[in-house]
């Protein structure tokens, strides 16, 4: 079926491309342009491809697939753009339009369906994931698998991630997860904690530490029941309707509690929560509620700066660098808070790496579905990281954390460098376990 040009223009949001004056200001900040070295993988190039569709010059839409698959969605381009091109919306619209028409190969289809529709949104399934990681390690299967080399033959190079999986949490421990914690001293705020699906399955411990640290800082913390996946991975993969559904479930869940803020510790999720207002702006019943939810949504670093940290121990001369979460920087625009917190740790030596704002290549499930591309981007990131001679790389998002761990492993630096979530590091310094 030939879609009419008008319909294509609407679907791809062609109107938005007209704001692009092709000045190229976005080129130096785009990680994929820098790594792959051609305009086809630059923001300006990608926007032009959409323009060409809207002008009827490109009719074979498959031409857009690779360029848009390989975009990290890091949105660094938006921050450099002098004319305010809404690249994030264009990207989502284009992916949705492409997904609608595309027949995926069977394994990709299965992976998309099972991960996006079943696993991430289901607390139970994510717990199972968490449990199976635990079982896998405890049962000795991990050792056996490593020995047999079977990991190398897993699809999507999942084997590469195996060695960096976090220390798993036992089902018993998971069952004891905090659901509520009062402020330690005087209460400053009441906050609802957003657990996130990947954070909770893989980095359960960091979530627990976050709750404790918030309580130390003066917050009553509540883990609201019935919350679900933020929907970011869906939105970025072109499954907009599913993302909207998840957003509504979360809004309903959190509306039940009169908290001052909804606090999260994952830059990617936080950005999605921050954009619920935008995501649901066309649905009259939801628009205001979504905007109100987004206004309340904060990254944990913002709250900790606001409330003040508990006393921290001296870490004399420790060299620390910070790998930003793109979505936290470019979408939520939370830039200074993590650095402010780090600089409060007495005795550390904070060093910015070169090209600090460039994406690490994790980008949601990018490093799984575009493994080779992602590793090229990671290698470039590691080059700058190594140059800092840091002992600790701080991150603020689970995807970045895993990717930096992988980077350290690939460079053979496990002895001298560790990647930590900001909260782990602060908790360590505050003596919270």
């Amino acid at each position: 079926m030939e879609a009419s040009l008008k319909q294509l223009r609407e679907e791809f949001q062609y109107d938005k491309t007209n704001n692009c004056v092709q000045c190229g200001y976005c080129l130096p900040v785009c990680p994929t342009y820098s790594t792959f070295g051609k305009e086809t993988h630059s923001p300006r190039g990608r926007i032009n491809l959409v323009k060409m569709v809207g002008e009827g010059k490109i009719t074979d839409l498959s031409l857009l697939e690779e360029p848009f698959d390989l975009c990290l969605g890091c949105r660094a381009c938006e921050t450099a753009c002098p004319t305010g091109v809404e690249y994030g919306s264009l990207l989502e619209a284009t992916r949705a339009a492409l997904v609608k028409r595309k027949t995926f190969s069977i394994p990709v289809r299965l992976l998309r369906k099972s991960l996006l529709k079943k696993v991430f949104p289901s607390r139970k399934m994510m717990n199972v994931t968490g449990h199976s990681i635990w079982l896998y390690e405890k049962s000795g299967l991990q050792k056996a698998a490593r020995k047999s080399g079977i990991m190398k033959t897993l699809p999507y190079n999942l084997g590469a991630f195996e060695s960096i999986m976090p220390v798993p949490v036992s089902p018993v421990e998971r069952g004891r997860a905090l659901t509520e914690m009062k402020a330690k001293l005087k209460r400053k705020y009441t906050v609802a904690f957003f657990t996130g699906c990947i954070m909770d399955a893989m980095f359960h411990r960091i979530n627990q530490l976050s709750i404790k640290l918030l309580s130390e800082a003066g917050c009553d913390v509540v883990v609201v029941p019935k919350q679900t996946c933020c929907g970011a991975l869906h939105a970025h993969s072109g499954e907009i309707d599913e993302a909207r559904n998840l957003a509504k479930q979360n809004i309903l869940a959190f509306e039940k509690m009169a908290a001052d803020f909804v606090v999260n510790n994952a830059g990617g999720c936080g950005a999605m929560l921050y954009e619920y207002g935008h995501l649901l702006s066309d649905e009259s019943e939801w628009a205001d509620r979504a905007a109100a939810f987004s206004a309340k949504s904060k990254d944990i670093s913002q709250i900790l700066v606001e409330c003040g940290l508990p006393e921290l121990r001296v870490r004399a001369g420790e060299r620390v660098t910070y790998q930003r979460s793109c979505h936290m920087t470019n979408v939520q625009k939370v830039k200074q808070e993590p650095i402010k917190l780090l600089k409060q740790v007495p005795g550390i030596h904070f060093i910015e790496m070169d090209q600090a704002e460039m994406c690490c290549g994790s980008a949601g499930i990018y490093n799984i579905v575009n493994y080779d591309a992602s590793m090229l981007i990671l290698d470039e990131k590691m080059m700058h990281t190594k140059a800092t001679e840091a002992a600790v790389i701080i991150t603020t998002n689970p995807g970045c954390l895993l990717q930096m761990k992988l980077g350290i492993e690939r460079e053979g630096l496990t002895e001298s460098m560790r990647a930590l979530h900001l909260i782990e590091y602060l908790a360590e310094a505050a003596g919270i376990i």
């Binding site: 704001n19 000045c23 080129l27 630059s42 490109i58 031409l63 002098p82």
Partner: protein, 469 residues
Amino acid sequence: MKVVISNHTQEIEAIIKTGRVLTNESDRFSYSFDASFGTYLPDLVVQTKSTEELVSLVKFANREKIPLYPRGQATSLSGGPLSVKGGIILDLSVMNDVLEIHEEDLVAVVSPGVLTANIHKAAEEKGFMYPPDPSSSHVSTIGGNLAENSGGPRGLKYGVTKDYVIGLEVITPEGELINTGGRTVKNVTGYDLTKLIVGSEGTLGIITKAVLRLIPKPKATATMMVIFDSLVDAGRAISKILSAGIFPSKMELMDQASIVAVEQFEPLGLPVDAAALILIEMDGHPLALQEEVSQAAELCRTVGARDVRIPKDKAEEAELWRARKLVSPAIVRIKPTKISEDATVPRSKIPEMCERLQEIRDKYGVHLVVFGHAGDGNLHPNIICDKTDHEEMSRVELAVSEIFTAAIELGGTLSGEHGIGIMKAPFMEMELGAAGLDMMKRIKDVWDPNNIMNPGKIFPEPGQKMELS
């Protein structure tokens, strides 16, 4: 119709051993534009860091009569790197490996793909300055700057790209590798081919290396903002300061339309009721600066300046320059299409040009914004319009032609820095006269007998007109 056929592609792939040959349609579309108008699909795109491979490729293309288009980062505002006649785009931005600062000779040696901002940085780290500063420095390549003879605000005091290039390595359209000039500031051996290549917009060959002159970095800078109730008075103040022997490093003008647009875009506390303002930067020894600032302030007041503001600290100073930086992004929020002209007039004619521009604005009912490097007569009259509105665009076309006519009548030029490309080719004869243009054409024919190097640029096709709608 493709000029490159599959046999050619095979041969090209054999020549380009270390680089890449891009033939996918998505890649070809991604090299079909620059920062001006139009889409021209190249047959293929070549990327290589190897000068030898490029030499072989040029020889091959010259033999087969395949057009070649050098391209930096495609920030050209005049259509310079567009493959208007099909053929091969040479993506020279990949040649970005050489950036040497030779302190003793006060020169930098660079390969063409190096970004100009990186040259600024490398020079400054060693206490030098590479003055040419187009506002696109952080994205444009030095190769593109050389080919367009780009300039920026500092052009007023320090001149433009051509004033800082003393040697080039060039592949001629027939595939010979030649060196022009050298490493010395003084050099009178034969014709000055360096200056001929600079500003030739890629029509006379491919620049593969350049030797640039550096100067010692000035010790300090000072900034002031002067506010006027009339645009023409602002123009007068500029002439007055310059003729009083004060030589600011930058003198940037913003008219009321641009002041208002910036304030709406990001409130910075600019005077929206003023007709114009000038931002002035001086550089030199800190003691001399103080004196020059107060002298310039006094001069502005005598021609009727409403107010002179001197920033208290570096932060406030940065704020003022931010206002100037925001003009471009701010004005495109009004309407999406920006026709950015750079017609330039002799300094003494600045007030008259300001008047003519206001007349043109009213006559054609176009949204005309005037800002830019006023100190060197390079006003940037920008017309803000909507390219999908054909009726409006035909008025814009008329207004643009009249701007060119006004500039030339006042003894000025079509283009101060953006180049001719395809956009301004139709007006060449108006400025140069038939004989002048013919002389240039003859030079082109001698260098490039098969017309393969960036064809369709600078020289108008018979009957070619400017087309915006």
